[in-house]
Structures are given as structure tokens and as C-alpha cells.
Amino acid sequence: MRIVIDWDRCIGAGMCVGIAPHLFQLDEKGKLNVLIEEPGEDQRATVEAAEACCPVEAISISNG
């Protein structure tokens, strides 16, 4: 499972940071960093919650 960010859409709202602070982080300038791009399967529910809650649908999950 790979976390894919659509950087044209991301507005740094930070919902993903709230839901999964071990996977996502905002820097001082408000830019998003993905800390672990390919988290383990045990993280799927958390990543799916972050994907669903992004207000601009900038997060998707690639299974390839």
C-alpha cells in the first residue's frame, strides 16, 4: 500500500496529521510531509480514514 498525495490539491488542512500523526506531518511553513509512504497493511484503516477525511480529496491509496 502506497500513500499518494495530489500536491496540486493539498491545502495543508492537516486532517491527516490529526488522524495519523505517525504517518503525516506539517512543517513550519504548513507544507505536508508524508513520513512513511508505504505503511504496513495493519495501517490500512487509519490511512483510509485520512483519505476519507481530506477536505480536498488529495489523498489516495495505491495498491500497485
Partner: protein, 398 residues
């Protein structure tokens, strides 16, 4: 099998349909919407749609093809008129549908100001049509009065100021947003209006909206009249539960559900603005009119429909955001608090963070332009030791 009928084709309804399919639900899924459109995103209506930076087509979540591929039948322009939980039937303006599961996602409608129906230039803002009508009026460079200093009213005022229009907000209560975020933080948010060039008048209600066929002004209870060419009414919403009057469901505050978002009878669920539910995290029944709440409840209900023997409760942390005057206000949790502590974390940078204490716990937190500080606080909400941990996390940089 009659499958699942989702009544309401906005965010909560859309996401329920998608999550059902994602969970492998193979029965029929029908999405009923009373508007003539496919599902669209409402937050841009008070912002980009008004200023013209977002087009109408940008607000649509999905194309018609998407629903075909997903195997979801969307019926737009169809209004549900009654629910019969004994016969498991939904009566609509387009005939009767049987269901195995029904998901009530009918949302809410903007509250209107009595006596203004026949006046042109007076608007509410809830639908795409509302927003495009306002945009059209704003292009005539009118004097704008916004009634209600809630977040919707504030965003509309901000958008009109972005277009360099003359804007006044009138608010009946002495302080804006007192119920939403508390008095002190409400004042902090209200400061944004002054900085943005909007006049904010608090403490007097609206006595009359004047004008013959077109609006001319707003007269307050203190006798002052503010001239207006356009009036936008942002005084809250009423839940769309009229069609459930004879259903036997508890509709005392929206559709009242248990912690699993079940409304009582077998196979009846509710999601989004219309749903009140028992939130085990806070130990109270709440109804939340936020974007993220709709999305999270949709996932829970889709799970509970697909896994009838393993029900999941919704222990959500409410979240909302509001973009105004180039700033972003974000709020997590509940504002019902025993104490509110405001910290200007980086002092000079005008990025205040407010913490809401409930007993010994962190009940909620608000920040302006500081998601980096706010969002990690989510982990502390209603957790043991959360208040102390949150206080430590927001101390100003030394």
C-alpha cells in the same frame, strides 16, 4: 433483495454509497437526491463560487460515469415523502421503493427570515442555485448586509470584501460565535472582520427588512436602518425531517440514533447533518453539521450495513474549518468547556491556539492559521492526562 436506499445525495449520502461498494456490498444501492444535481461540495459555495475563483462544475464530486461504474443508481430531483419501517418502504415524489437498509442523509435547509420571501436581493446560502444567484447579484457591486455572524455569514462577508464591496454583518447576540466557540474566542474570530474591513454590529436583532419588491435596507431593533442592495441571511439551518413525521422514528433533534448510527428499527440508519447520535467518546448525544462528520459517519454506517454481526460505534471528534480574510480557523472537539485557555503560541505571528478544558480532559481546541500545532492535539482529546499534555504542547516557543 431490495438493497440499500440512501435518501439524500450530498456528501454523507455519496460517501455511504462509495463505502458500501468498497466494502464489497453486492446488493442494489440507490442514491436519492431532491436537488437536480449530482452530489456537489458545499464549502466552496460561500467562498470561491461567490468570488468566481471556483466554477460550478468544479464543485461536483463525481461524474455520472463514476456512478455507473460503481453500480450505484442515482435518482436526482426526487423527494422522499414518507418512510414506512414496517413495510420497509420509502414513498417518494417518483413512486415507492422497497429497502433492506435505508440510510437517512437528508441534511438540513437554510433557515429563512419570515416576511422576506417576496423581496428580491434577499438570499440564504445552502445550494448551488443560492450561491450562483448571490454571485450574480454581487457583480452589480451592491451594498451588502449579512444577517448572522456565524461561520457561513463570516465567509460570505469575507468573499464580498475580497470583491471590495461595502459589507456589514448584523448579529442579534452581544458576541459573535459565543455558542460555537465561547465568548472570548468568538471575539478573537470577530477581530478578523475589522481587519478585513467588514463592519460588525452586535447586540441588536433584525426588526424588519425593508423594500417594496427589491430590498432597500435592514432595520435593527434599536431603530437603526442599514441601507442594503443585497442581504444574505445566515441564521442557521433546520433539519430535513418533515418526511419522517409519521415514521415513528425519534426526530426530536434530527434523527436520533444510538452509537452505531442506527435509528431504531432494523435497517434504518442516519448520517450527516440530519443525524443525532450517542457519541461514546464524549458520553452525550450530539448532532454535528460539519463536513468531516458526514464523511466519518458514512464510513461507519457502510461498515455496519456490510457487517451486520459486528457493529462499530461512531466515537468521532468533531472538526470544522472556516476560511476567512485569508486566514483559516480550525476547531477540533467540543467547545462546551469548564475553562478556555488562549495561547498565542508564536506571539508575534498572530496564530492563537485556544484549549477547551472539560473536567480534567481536553474537550476541544481551536487555532487560527496553525494546523501544525492544532492537529497533533487531536490525540489528546478526551484522553487521560490530555489536558496537561495539550497545555505543554502549546506553550509559546521560548
Amino acid at each position: 433483495m431490495s438493497g440499500t436506499v440512501i435518501v439524500g445525495a450530498s456528501l454523507a449520502g455519496l460517501r455511504t454509497a462509495e463505502a458500501l461498494r468498497k466494502n464489497g456490498y453486492e446488493e442494489r444501492v440507490t442514491l436519492l437526491g431532491m436537488e437536480d444535481h449530482l452530489p456537489y461540495d458545499r464549502p466552496p459555495l460561500s467562498k470561491g463560487i461567490l468570488t468566481g475563483t471556483v466554477s460550478e462544475s468544479d464543485t461536483f464530486f463525481r461524474t455520472a460515469d463514476h456512478f455507473t461504474e460503481l453500480g450505484v443508481e442515482v435518482k436526482t430531483g426526487v423527494r422522499a415523502t414518507a418512510l414506512d419501517t414496517t413495510d420497509r418502504a420509502i414513498h417518494t415524489s417518483d413512486g415507492t421503493l422497497q429497502y433492506d437498509n435505508v440510510v437517512i442523509a437528508t441534511g438540513a435547509a437554510a433557515r429563512t427570515l419570515p416576511g422576506t420571501d417576496s423581496l428580491s436581493g434577499v438570499h440564504v446560502i445552502r445550494t448551488l442555485e443560492d450561491a450562483t444567484a448571490i454571485r450574480s447579484d454581487l457583480s452589480n457591486r451592491p451594498r451588502v448586509v449579512v444577517i448572522g455572524a456565524g461561520f457561513i455569514g463570516a465567509e460570505v462577508a469575507s468573499s464580498a470584501r475580497e470583491m471590495d464591496l461595502d459589507v456589514t454583518i448584523v448579529e442579534a447576540l452581544p458576541n459573535p460565535l459565543a455558542r460555537a466557540v465561547g465568548t472570548e474566542v468568538g471575539r478573537l474570530c470577530a477581530d478578523l472582520h475589522a481587519e478585513g474591513g467588514t463592519t460588525l454590529l452586535c447586540g441588536n436583532g433584525v426588526a424588519e427588512v425593508t423594500g417594496n419588491s427589491t430590498v432597500e435596507g435592514v432595520t435593527l431593533t434599536n431603530g437603526v436602518t442599514i441601507p442594503a442592495d443585497v442581504v444574505i441571511v445566515g441564521i442557521g439551518v433546520t433539519v430535513n425531517t418533515g418526511w419522517l413525521e409519521d415514521s415513528g422514528l425519534d426526530i426530536s433533534n434530527g434523527v436520533v440514533c444510538d452509537e452505531y448510527m442506527s435509528a431504531g428499527p432494523t435497517g434504518v440508519f442516519a448520517v450527516g447533518d440530519v443525524a443525532a447520535w450517542h457519541n461514546p467518546l464524549f458520553g452525550v448525544t450530539m448532532r454535528v453539521e460539519h463536513w468531516t462528520n458526514a464523511v466519518e459517519q458514512a464510513l461507519i454506517v457502510a461498515y455496519n450495513i456490510t457487517n451486520p454481526t459486528e457493529q462499530r460505534p461512531y466515537a468521532g471528534i468533531p472538526y470544522f474549518w472556516s476560511d476567512q480574510y485569508g486566514r483559516r480557523i480550525q476547531f477540533l472537539g467540543r467547545s462546551d468547556a469548564d475553562e478556555v485557555v488562549i495561547v498565542d503560541r508564536t506571539r508575534e505571528s498572530r496564530k492563537p491556539v485556544a484549549l477547551y478544558r472539560k473536567d480534567d480532559a481536553l474537550g476541544g481546541a481551536l487555532a487560527i492559521d496553525d494546523p501544525m500545532t492544532l492537529m497533533p492535539l487531536r490525540a489528546h482529546i478526551m484522553k487521560e492526562g490530555g489536558w496537561e499534555a495539550a497545555l505543554a504542547a502549546v506553550q509559546p516557543d521560548s
